[in-house]
Amino acid sequence: MTSPANHVAKRFAKVFAEAGGLLSHPLRVGPLLGKLASDGMRVSFEQRHLYSYAKTTRDSQETLNLLVRWILDAQCPDGGIAAYYSLLSGYSKAYPEVTGYIIPTLYDFAHASGDRVAIAAAQRATAWLLSLQMPSGTFPGGLQGSEGKPSVFNTGQILQGLVCAYSETKQSEILQSAILAGEWLIQQQRADGCWSGAGAYQNEVHTYYSMVAWALAQLSRCSGDDRYATAAERNITWVLSRFRPSGWIDGINLREHPNYLHFMAYILQGVLECAILRHRRDAMDAVAKSAWILLRKFETNKSLCGAYDEDFKHGRRFACLTGNAQMSCVWMRLFELSNDLRYLNAALKMNEMLKQLIPAKGSRGIVGGVSGSYPIWERYQPLRHISWGCKFVADALLTEDRLMRSLEAREVEAVPCAS
């Protein structure tokens, strides 16, 4: 348990460390001031009108290339991908968790664009992760070189990457590693379906660990072992018990942090994807209800708040771009399930908003970067371009491309031939 004084001291230490980075690299002052000025101007003059984001102002393919370039630039020679690029201190160390769940994005991008470089990057990332796995099957939490305690959430997120890498390469070594991770996750799971104890962040149970359930459901599908699916469903059932009639979901449980949209979207994504894999109608309906509430907020206010209090009250007036991109992904999946075009419509507008905030020019770490918050100085990952932000925006644009191609093709096919 950390005391408030400890927490404040930690925050100050963090600020000083980042500011120190600026002193050692004074050339970073230019891009920093540029970004502060551009976000400041945008916030001041932005007109949130009904028609905001209803038009395509930036090409999705070009933006997607920029995002993946950012991710590739953030990859270390050993394969690990940095957590963020700070406008003060530059690149962070590699982050196993994010390196894991960026792997599916790299493969999806490679399939959509035919870019072999992304495949090579995914393979390097996989090899690096395999080298980090502990004998118990878990993966270390935190950045490379930190304490590296076993972490349930990070292991789950890495498991997603491993399952995808195995599906792509069919290398038995990767499957073995994934199964080892899956076994560890099952061992750590409580009888009621959640995870707690030392492997859980801040020793608390968290509903956003539905992302771990999703990874287990994926592992069950590729390994054919139903025990992982049972564990996944047990967790989803537990998470569903935290859904309120208002659509709000309890149990984000992050001390010293508000309920960022990123974590709410994690819950929805994890439950929805798991529900799709396990054909759980109850879970799909619960997610649709919460996602619709957020959709109405977005369509009415032209933005989603970066964080909310219980029952979506007291929204903070900044944007958590990662959470926005995740919600876009959730809406698009709900469109696939329901055929309700309003979900796709909201996602197209959200993607438009996100594209407009991605720098098209600048040095490495800046160009193609997705800031934690908009404006960039706000509370979620301030003054940083974060790799998981790039991942989720890329996922949203890839899904948009796939869905729109299919819709447009369907429309063209049905046109009667002139002859």
């Binding site: 007109q47 949130r48 009108h49 009904l50 028609y51 905001s52 984001y53 209803a54 038009k55 395509t56 619709w292 109405r296 369509e299 075009l341 309003r342 796709l344 419509n345 909201a346 197209l348 507008k349 438009e352 729109m404 819709l407 447009e408 429309e411 063209v412 049905a414 046109v415 009667p416």
Partner: protein, 273 residues
């Protein structure tokens, strides 16, 4: 029946045509209230809607009232807007020709606006555009506030209704309904499908035709209310969330494609009997 027309701008062709048609049907408006066209909010809204160049064009058109610019944007309104050899270009010109007062305001929901409207003692308010209406304005007229919604209720509420109707395979039409505090959720007075909707050449063409159709229907409804031959019926399915929002350009293209396709089918049907 004392009728007041509310509009988003004195330059709204829809409002001009509505006033002319009401006057021709024997319901000369007792007043018209328009939002100020060149306020900061409207200009910013136009920037959001059309971009800087579009908004600059809009401001130019409002500032420079050239006689040479007498083109009607919606050709289906030309019949209403003809004024001898000229056309009405603003509600001020319509008001001068038909002798009814016109006022402007910054917010249709303000207390001052409600006070102004009360002076006209309206039985009915006909809404042609502007803010989402709230109380106390909704309580001002004796009978109610009417809207011509460009979609069939309750299936398609909210924005981009013609486009959503096409994409969701709902017949395209107009609903005349009372405005309440919800979005297009008030009791319905009349609902009509647009005849030959699939003959429309484009989405713009379809929308223009629907606007003209709505203006005709509105005059009918006002007359029927006056005669006491029409009664409102509450909407069903109010629990179901049928609200639609502004459609993204890419889905609009799909709707346009679907409309073209339906037109081809319709033409083929005509040729082959």
């Amino acid at each position: 029946m004392r009728v007041v027309v509310l509009t988003s701008s004195v330059y709204s062709e829809t409002a001009c045509a509505m006033c002319v048609n009401l006057a021709q049907t024997g319901y000369l408006p007792v007043g018209a209230l328009a939002l100020r066209s060149l306020n900061r909010k409207t200009l910013l809204r136009k920037v959001g809607q059309w971009g800087f160049s579009g908004a600059a064009g809009y401001a130019r058109a409002k500032l420079i009232q050239s006689n040479g610019q007498s083109r009607v944007r919606n050709p289906y309104l030309e019949l209403f807007l003809k004024n001898g050899s000229e056309v009405f270009r603003s509600l001020r010109e319509v008001a001068a020709a038909h002798r009814f007062p016109i006022m402007t305001c910054a917010n249709q929901n303000s207390a001052q606006t409600a006070a102004q409207l009360k002076k006209w003692s309206p039985d009915l308010i006909v809404f042609t555009g502007g803010n989402i209406l709230r109380r106390p304005l909704l309580d001002v007229p004796r009978v109610g506030v009417l809207n011509a919604h460009l979609g069939l209720l309750p299936e398609v509420r909210g924005m981009s209704s013609p486009e959503w109707s096409i994409l969701n395979d709902v017949p395209v039409g107009v609903t005349i309904h009372y405005i309440d505090e919800g979005i297009d959720s008030g009791p319905v007075l009349q609902q009509c499908e647009l005849p030959g909707a699939t003959d429309s050449e484009s989405l713009d063409d379809l929308r223009n035709r629907l606007i003209a159709f709505g203006i005709e229907r509105m005059a009918d409804v006002v007359a029927a209310l006056d005669r006491g031959t029409i009664f409102p019926r509450p909407q069903s399915d109010l629990d179901k969330d049928n609200q639609f929002f502004v459609m993204h350009e890419r889905l609009q293209k799909l709707a346009a494609q679907r409309l073209r396709k339906e037109r081809i089918y319709s033409l083929a049907g005509t040729v082959h009997g």
